[in-house]
């Protein structure tokens, strides 16, 4: 069995993350604002959420890698998992020289996430309602 490695050089991604673009705003900026509001009881702006995401990506190490994910037209995204301040995060991005870093997802994992090194990142405390497009506490 061949070892699955990140598609993008992590150091290159970190070096370019300051100018990253955000797609799916509710699953990046909106998710971070919701976690801060509900789990940390703190209020943050969109620009503070963007900084938190960039800092989160910069804190990644190779062992946080989970798997690949195809996003569109054969474009491969790297999926990572990370626990930051006791909160689980599902982190997905891709990179190209032309487009830079595209932050595609930075939100509480919908389900448990298995990392390359065998660690498991638990599902998030918040769940996203795809219809209402809002985050709320997961009901057990």
């Amino acid at each position: 069995m061949t070892e699955v490695k990140p598609h993008y050089e992590l150091e290159t991604v970190k070096a370019n993350v300051e100018s990253c673009a955000f797609s799916a705003r509710n699953k990046t900026l909106g998710a971070v604002i919701a976690v801060f509001r509900i789990c940390f009881q703190k209020e943050i702006t969109n620009s503070e959420a963007a900084k938190y995401i960039r800092d989160g990506v910069k804190s990644l190490v190779i062992d946080d890698f989970a798997r690949h994910s195809e996003v569109h037209g054969g474009t491969i995204a790297d999926v990572y998992g990370k626990v930051i301040n006791d909160e689980s995060w599902y982190i997905k991005f891709y990179y190209s020289d032309e487009d830079g870093v595209c932050q595609y997802a930075f939100h509480p994992p919908a389900r448990e996430l298995l990392l390359k090194d065998g660690r498991k990142i638990s599902q998030g405390k918040l769940v996203y309602d795809e219809v209402k497009k809002v985050w709320s506490l997961r009901r057990e």
Partner: protein, 186 residues
Amino acid sequence: MMKLKKCGVCGENDLVHKTIKGERFSYKSFPSYVVNEDLLLAYCAHCGDFVLASDDPELIDIAIENSIKNDLSLFIKNILERTGWTQNELADYVGFTAIYISELKNRKKVPEFRTYNYLKLLSECFGALECVIENDPRCEGVRDSYSFQGSGSLERWNHIDLSRKVEAALPMEAADSFDDIEGIAA
């Protein structure tokens, strides 16, 4: 700033510019706020979502803050117009400092979600303001002007004729121009 060339979600490279006015965004304690300010951002018509460049979150914050401040100023002006109160009276009767009311009215402060909701209710919802001041003897004149029949029970609204309800719920100019009000009440 890097120019966005395509949507990260679907790969569509024919992005258009669209205003965020009318769109929902999260901001601080606001879980889902509908922005009422114009700001053109790259938009993917295929996904129905914005594609944000690195500087866009800061611009979005500014638009949201301006929009919330405008809303609050209108809420306060509406309450003052309905009641004939001064800003100091409004502050005293509903539980704020006069300075804070002045700052909100003059668009100098962005309130918390709960303050926004409280003043929105007082401004927009029939009966809310009357309910808050129900036991304040200083506000009897205001209560009378809205046919307030205070008994502490929700049933009190059943005694009010519908035309008065509509009139009280609308800004004065709108109520004056609403000349078919009896037809609606019937």
